[in-house]
């Protein structure tokens, strides 16, 4: 399992806003969750189009984890909470 940093599509925010919001939500691979389910949850929780949700799912699957959202810490904790609600294994980190 690779722990190499995962490329993230940064949302279109100004450099200034990103400095204020250097937190990320990470979803970790696990052997139980179905690929179709993880894709579905990414669409549901983040409103991502299916193609993007699928790409993130495959990142999780192949690389062991993927950054699924970035922003303010509180927002990342809400994302993690929502993902836990669906049974995904999500954590919040400081994007340093």
């Amino acid at each position: 399992v690779s722990t190499a940093p995962v490329e993230v599509e940064q949302p279109e925010t100004s450099q200034e806003a990103r400095l204020d919001a250097p937190w990320i939500t990470i979803v970790w691979n696990d052997p139980v969750n179905l690929m179709s389910y993880v894709t579905y949850v990414f669409q549901k929780v983040f409103g991502y189009p299916k193609a993007k949700a699928q790409k993130l799912m495959l990142d999780v699957h192949h690389k062991g984890k993927a950054v699924v959202s970035s922003g303010a810490r509180e927002a990342m904790e809400r994302d993690a909470e929502a993902l836990h609600g669906y049974g995904l294994w999500a954590t919040v980190s400081h994007d340093s």
């Binding site: 990470i26 691979n29 969750n33 579905y40 836990h84 049974g87 999500a90 954590t91």
Partner: protein, 291 residues
Amino acid sequence: MSGIGPGGFPADDDDRSGPDEPFGAQEPDGLGEDDPGDDSEELAATFHPIPGGAACYFAPAQAGVIRSLVGQVAELVRGDSAPGDSAFGDNSPGDSGPGGSGMGGAMGGWPAAGGPGGPGGAGGPADAAGGGLAGPGAAGQGGPGSGEPTPGTPSPDELERMLGLSGNVELPDDPVLARLLPDAYSDDAEASAEFRRYTEESLRASKINSARAVLASLPAGGGEVVLSESECQQWLRALNDVRLALGVRLGITDENEDLMSSASVDDPRSAYLWVYQWLAYLQDSLIESLS
């Protein structure tokens, strides 16, 4: 992550004959791949889309297995519940004992404690499923707050509960609970504790709600289940929680995802592995139905 490959369970068909055949009628060695002509079509019930939701026909024994497992996970998540209280204790096939929860301490720690008399026993998977998921400390616990709610002034514990503060700050000891209620920070115990303090209670409540929705829409005797889209959401979450719990108890890892095909029929886990796999197809069919 797990994928649904070809060549697994056959798709559900319209053959509804023999719904009264018990799920557990076969010995585990009858579930093997060398017996393709059996009633596996019926056993592998899957959802199909309908306008505004999804539907699936469940044989009585299939309904019994799902109700039992969903109820057990809910009991485990609820933690301090009184046995036999509420919907989870009643009407569940496989229940044993006057408390009705069917999660007796004798089965705690399954499958290690299951032994040869486990799923291979006379009752087969349906009966076996009645006993399996309770972790350490889940059975017979009569801690504060259990039993009938008493009218009057709420205790400090109850107040904290009402405010959604669980007070729990540590990752649960039980590996199933630890998976269902995970830490939110991988490298910051203090932040994890704080997050848990403010979110764990609502996470538990949401999982219990999903379980209730399944139990409310799935008759104990089986039958056609017709779900609205929001009910489908609840089912998805509850089925996933059950699969996560089974995955932990069965020791599913990335390396042994295909444990099912490699496990010996003498393996006490084989019947549960079969249920685990079926639930994957059932969940996948529900996702398909929503797409």
